[in-house]
Symmetry: C2
Subunit: 352 residues, 2 copies
């Protein structure tokens, strides 16, 4: 198994000024590299405390690239619905080169109705804009003299500069939240898959992974080369009670941040997002003990979290895990402790 750190901030100015936020995150990136973590990852969200300190993951990861030499840099995810594919392909190609080929380009559809409204993008175009955006980036990376005649963008023939470091293109990952057909499409296209197990029952995650892996195999992609990233809130301490108290507080804080961000699903329906109206209800039923018992978050002592990961490996196979160590606003010292305890005492049990 591989492990990384995912930066999903839930702070606003009242909690932490942004200068300190980025300084702490970059220090955590350096620590993660030192401890042998596989990757760092950053989200794209706007205005809400739910991810709002990370509106442009590429900007953050470019700084992270300049501070490191080995760790991989994952956009988790960039949102093609809100950025022109020329711009998106170009800045990701810059990051790929600045980092010497350490980019894994993760794309997402976005799922907050307010974000679509702010960018004046109809939410019912989510899937078609995503498909067009990812494919336009892929072609701009892999091909020369690209002529793009899509539904939303028309350009070319053009040859993207800079050419990406990795040929024909950086590894591509796609995010899926609740939608099984997204998993199938990822497998068929030979892309990696990013999932958030916390928001689905275990059986549903297993079904989605099954669809992904079957589509991967059916399309004839290299056996065993499929890539699955799972993100988990993580809070570790040497003392179990302290870990549970801290993990519970972070979980509750994340829940509150998410509540604001998804509130618009209470009055939004879209055939591009079947079932999302239930998110509001699910979040209202926040249950830390239940989530912990179902291994939907990684909280406890290093021994306890090692046990959780053994169960997760049994359920989901040899996946890549991204630890959300700042989500829910632990202190910086607590986040450092989580990264350190996990890297030193948990990860070695799962060395590939």
């Amino acid at each position: 198994m591989k492990f990384g750190i995912s930066f999903f901030p839930t702070v606003g100015p009242a909690d932490k000024d942004a200068y300190r936020h980025y300084a702490e995150c970059l220090a955590l990136v350096e620590l993660a590299e030192e401890l042998g973590y596989d990757h760092v990852k950053a989200v794209e969200h706007y205005f809400f405390e739910y991810g709002g300190y990370s509106p442009d993951p590429v900007t953050f990861l470019a700084a992270a690239a300049a501070r490191t030499s080995r760790i991989r840099l994952v956009t988790g995810a960039v949102l093609p619905a809100f950025t022109h594919p020329i711009k998106l392909a170009a800045k990701l190609a810059m990051l790929d080169n600045i980092s010497g080929g350490r980019l894994d380009a993760g794309f997402g559809r976005a799922f907050l109705p307010d974000e679509f409204a702010w960018f004046e993008v109809p939410i019912d175009e989510s899937r078609s804009r995503f498909d067009e955006g990812v494919e336009a980036c892929r072609r701009l990376w892999a091909e020369e003299d690209v002529e793009w005649r899509g539904t939303y963008h028309r350009f070319g023939p053009v040859t993207l500069l800079p050419r990406p470091f990795r040929q024909p293109h950086p590894p591509i990952l796609v995010a899926a939240a609740l939608t099984p057909s997204s998993c199938e499409a990822a497998g068929r296209n030979g892309y990696g898959l990013m999932l958030v197990p916390a928001i689905n029952p275990r059986e549903k995650v297993q079904d989605m992974l099954g669809l992904y892996r079957k589509a991967w195999a059916d399309a004839g992609h290299e056996p065993g080369a499929d890539v699955v990233h799972l993100s988990y809130n993580a809070y570790l301490a040497e003392d179990a009670d302290e870990a549970f108290a801290g993990g519970d507080a972070c979980s509750l804080r994340m829940n509150h941040a998410m509540r604001d961000a998804v509130a618009a699903w209470g009055r939004t329906r879209s055939d591009n997002y079947v079932g999302y109206e239930n998110i509001v209800k699910k979040i209202a039923q926040h249950d830390f003990a239940g989530a912990l018992a179902d291994n939907r978050l990684l909280v406890g002592t290093p021994e306890q979290v090692t046990g959780q990961l053994r169960a997760i490996r049994d359920w989901f196979g040899d996946v890549t895990i991204s630890l959300q160590v700042i989500t829910g606003n632990p202190s910086y010292e607590d986040a450092v402790r989580t990264v350190r305890l996990f890297g030193e005492q948990v990860a070695p049990h799962f060395a590939d």
Copy 2:
């Protein structure tokens, strides 16, 4: 006077792979900081060798920020016509925080017809899109609960995250090429002004600066706080003949790159770009010796370039100079030499 390095690449894959390009540029950034330069700057251009290795200056400057601690970071310029103002304001605010307040946010209208075509933005909307983009960014930085009801974008009320490091907003600069009214608007708004003296007769530059400074004063902005950035191709060597040969070669190479990029002006007319159709003709009349005699580029020994700068100071006043040290594809060693000779033997004569 203050001095900086402006990264205006004119390379393509046949000249230099992008990994090496960014590695060299970041090494030059570190050298510039070490030698006491005021700033580094990066352009935004697409697809052409003329700037095409720099499609997203924020990505490059974020890496530069992470490698430095003092030097200022200038977008020279970002192009609001091609990026949604929410996205643009947000990534610039990230860079401002990541760098601890070292961002100077320079905005440009863009001027290559092909770039407008690729992004499907009518070139006749250039000025109105620029005005709306800059003002939307300024308000997103300076205000909370911003309601934007523009011609091209409508959103809000929203409060941008992250808040910029500098309050109420990072210093704003605007680029002007040939258009006097742009200079006047910059002065009236209290913004800095970025000019490229090489493309205008000295008298016209003086007129543009006069308009800018008069508008600044008339609007009641702080006397003497106006900011003027002038960019010059620069090539220095200890030996004069070597400097002229190298400077000539770079100038010619830049000229060729620019020729491709502006070719569309041969068949484009826009009332947003009066007189731009003459660019094609001007470039065809490339004359290194004439440009050197008019101090339109900085080429020579440290003593000779010191003399050029004394003339430039006499003509234009106490301006900030950005040296285009990689433009025209000098070898990396030659660019290092230019940065070093200028920083060690020229800049000290002009210490503020």
